[in-house]
Symmetry: C2
Subunit: 181 residues, 2 copies
């Protein structure tokens, strides 16, 4: 859960990073950046900010924003019925961005959120500079993290079904609960 | 057909417009902007410049560039086998951009390329400002045109099969022939 005050504060910080990245978004888009805390109630440590540009029954385009040193938990996009599962392209736009995928442990820049060693299993680090892209097939596990400046990237994909994503951390609840206080 | 010299010149002009739009592309991407003259051999009148960011068997992302007053011919994306056909999202990024779709004739800013009244049948004009988006379903005809500054936009879509697009103008050949001279 996250308080309404903190939610608004995090939205504002995400907007500032999108502006730093030089990405133009419309006034309407500025009002609807979604903040996801994955039910971990620790948004500045684990979470993500998402602006959905478009989402149809077949494709979706989003801006993803990580605040400084914020981490998106390890997850994957499973098959759903006749759909083989979400295929996703990440394109780095700005900031300090690291992805972790299957492969040998070559982790040097990133860190595992405290006490979460068991649920961040991937340790193969890929540093993404602006314009660098990664492609994830359905089922391919990944997690990612910003460095000191935060990070801004595009995510383009086939059909999005965030609610059906798989997470290594069983404490995760995909829906973010906002506390009006 | 287009001469190699003109092809290179057009690529350079497209790069300049991408830079004006404030879009960062990598040095590798700068080398592979495709110029399409649709076999009409009149690139500054009818044609388009395309930079493909990514293209998988399921989705694609491109930057489309129109030079000043350049027109993309009227076309549509038909069904192909089991695929219902290409669904496409256009997001305007920069410049003067007009789309033409089915609907009443409200054309005020655009123009029909000389002598081509019969093959530009759609006259319902939509002016796109930066951040504005349009969604095209398979089979939906459209054409578009830049004003005096040119225009830069994203195209995100399901599977691309440019070679199978339908064109109102039967003179069109989708492949661009380059003359080494």
């Amino acid at each position: 859960m996250i308080t309404r005050k903190q939610y608004t504060e995090v939205q504002q910080k995400a907007l500032e990073l999108i502006a730093k990245a030089g990405i133009h978004i419309t006034p309407e888009e500025q009002t609807r950046i979604a903040v996801a805390d994955f039910g971990l109630s620790d948004i500045y440590s684990q979470g993500i900010q998402v602006l959905t540009f478009f989402e149809t029954d077949r494709i979706a385009g989003k801006i993803l924003v990580l605040l400084p040193n914020q981490t998106e938990p390890e997850h994957w996009h499973p098959p759903v019925g006749n759909d083989p599962g979400k295929q996703e392209i990440i394109r780095a736009l700005w900031g300090d961005l690291r992805f972790y995928v299957e492969g040998d442990d070559n982790m040097t820049e990133g860190f595992i959120p405290i006490g979460k060693e068991d649920v961040f299993r991937l340790r193969h680090e890929i540093i993404l500079n602006p314009g660098d892209q990664l492609e994830f097939q359905p089922g391919e596990k990944h997690w990612f993290q910003a460095g000191n400046r935060g990070a801004v990237m595009y995510s383009f994909s086939t059909t999005v079904r965030d609610g059906l994503d798989g997470f290594t951390d069983s404490d995760i609840i995909r829906e973010t609960k906002i506390i009006e206080s």
